[in-house]
Point group: C2
Chain length 303, copies 2
């Protein structure tokens, strides 16, 4: 089942020549989730050949400009492309007045419904679910109300191993029971165990987004076992004081989080504009967690 991540931008507050503000796409079986929407998100989508009409859900971490100033342009363009399907924006409570301002001033002609799903939680909380995926929000620790998100593929029914059907004369009713991970107890007392006669169709994968935040230990459990982790690393360790003061993380903080959470892979992003050479982040993180990488805009990361 397709699950891939593409970043449109990962600058921190100040964009640079080649780093757009925060905005990312998670592709779940062809439907796209937009995660944050910094200025220029729609332009980057054009550049990378990503169709904004495949987006039905937008997940906003927090209401700092570099994470949302692209939303007005995106919503306007969707309207001009004749969108009629509802769109749901998951965002903190403060987004209400931003949306009202937008609709009052630029909402003329918008034929689709914009639903604001308010995010407010102190522990991980399920906020969205469809047949393929569950999304949970969890609080981060930034200067304002901020949330991370974890996207977890659902485990599907298992498949029956074909040879076993003949071997044990398994009937249709029994197949359905076994695929749902239940054993079958036959009238003669014999037991068919689901583990013996079924196999997993695919390995359910997960992706977590943590930006912006200072490091805090509860987070490790909340994203435990995640396959791909995008974690902010605004600074390197030599600027730890600044990171602390501004409620941001260093590359080392991000790597510790990936390690403690047992992640497979870490993508570093949200770099301060003061850094031109980004390899310093990778180097710092890899000393702690080997599978650390600088995010590349437009690259498709299969999960």
């Amino acid at each position: 089942m397709d699950l891939s991540f593409t970043s449109l931008g990962f600058a921190s507050a100040l964009p640079t020549v080649d780093r757009f503000p925060s905005a990312h796409i998670l592709n779940v079986c062809g439907r796209l989730f937009l995660i944050d929407c910094g200025e220029g998100a729609q332009i980057q989508m054009k550049k990378f050949g990503i169709s904004m009409l495949k987006i039905d859900e937008i997940f906003i971490s927090h209401l700092h400009g570099d994470h949302i100033f692209g939303i007005f342009g995106l919503l306007s363009t969707m309207s001009m492309l004749n969108r009629i399907e509802d769109i749901t924006i998951f965002a903190p409570i403060g987004f209400k007045k931003i949306l009202e301002f937008f609709m009052d001033n630029f909402g003329d002609g918008i034929e689709y419904k914009i639903i604001h799903h308010i995010i407010s939680c102190k522990q991980p909380e399920e906020v969205f679910s469809n047949s393929n995926i569950v999304v949970k929000a969890f609080p981060l620790q930034h200067r304002i109300d901020t949330y991370g998100y974890i996207f977890q593929q659902k485990e599907h029914f298992r498949n029956i191993i074909k040879e076993k059907i003949n071997e044990f004369s398994i009937n249709i009713d029994e197949i359905n029971v076994l695929k749902s991970k239940n054993d079958v107890i036959r009238k003669d007392g014999t037991i068919l165990e689901w583990k013996d006669v079924t196999y997993e169709k695919f390995q359910a994968k997960s992706f977590a987004y943590c930006s912006d935040t200072r490091p805090f230990p509860e987070l490790y459990n909340w994203i435990s076992g995640v396959n791909l982790l995008y974690h902010e690393s605004t600074y390197t360790e030599d600027m730890k004081d600044k990171a602390n003061k501004r409620f941001h993380s260093t590359a080392a903080d991000a790597a510790i989080c990936a390690k403690k959470a047992g992640a497979d892979k870490l993508l570093l992003g949200h770099f301060s504009s003061r850094y031109q050479d980004l390899t310093v982040f990778e180097k710092e993180a890899r000393a702690i967690f080997k599978e650390s990488y600088i995010t590349e805009a437009g690259k498709k990361y299969e999960i």
Copy 2:
């Protein structure tokens, strides 16, 4: 005296892979005027090596998103770059609530003053002047309240031709009179004509910005004799009906305007996203006005 124009973007409503929304820079002796501020304006400035801290005045044509969605990002970034100097934004009355919304929601930490100079006129009206330039606003004819701007260099005092000083024994007081384009009548009745003993330091030049608008004849007089004209041409003539309906111009309309106004050169912009090959605009316009050119982003047009 330096006067040059650089476009940051000239897409119409929908940006394309290589065309950002409307935003342009007029460089007047090293100070920069920003004209419109579509999404991504600050990113384009970075790309083209243009310092946003040299901008003290912003001229907004109208309040459609593709002309102003970059303003929040720009104002925020200016603040993060520690701007303290006032900035003046010339814009229609409706900009008031946009600015209020911005300050209420994203204004924390902004140390500089943002002055909204309300543009509202039915005829050309001077809205700004400094030692180098006069800016006049004039009404355009679009679906909402929209204004064009003409930037006219001031004619400076003339210089005395050195050889004439000895020839006519011209004294300091007389020099000042002559430089101000006044003749000197001496006690003996002889007349020193300023035209004979002075020369023009430089030719005062002008630039006009007309976007968005449908064509209308009063405009030709208002920008008469302009050196460089940027005029919208959203469509070509085969889509004249659509242009009329949406209060836009075709390339031919823009060319007629340039011709009737006696412009030196026409830059075409604000192209609909439906056009991939822009040479059709140039071709259509040149049949009417030879000095017609497609705007190129980042190119410095000396005026």
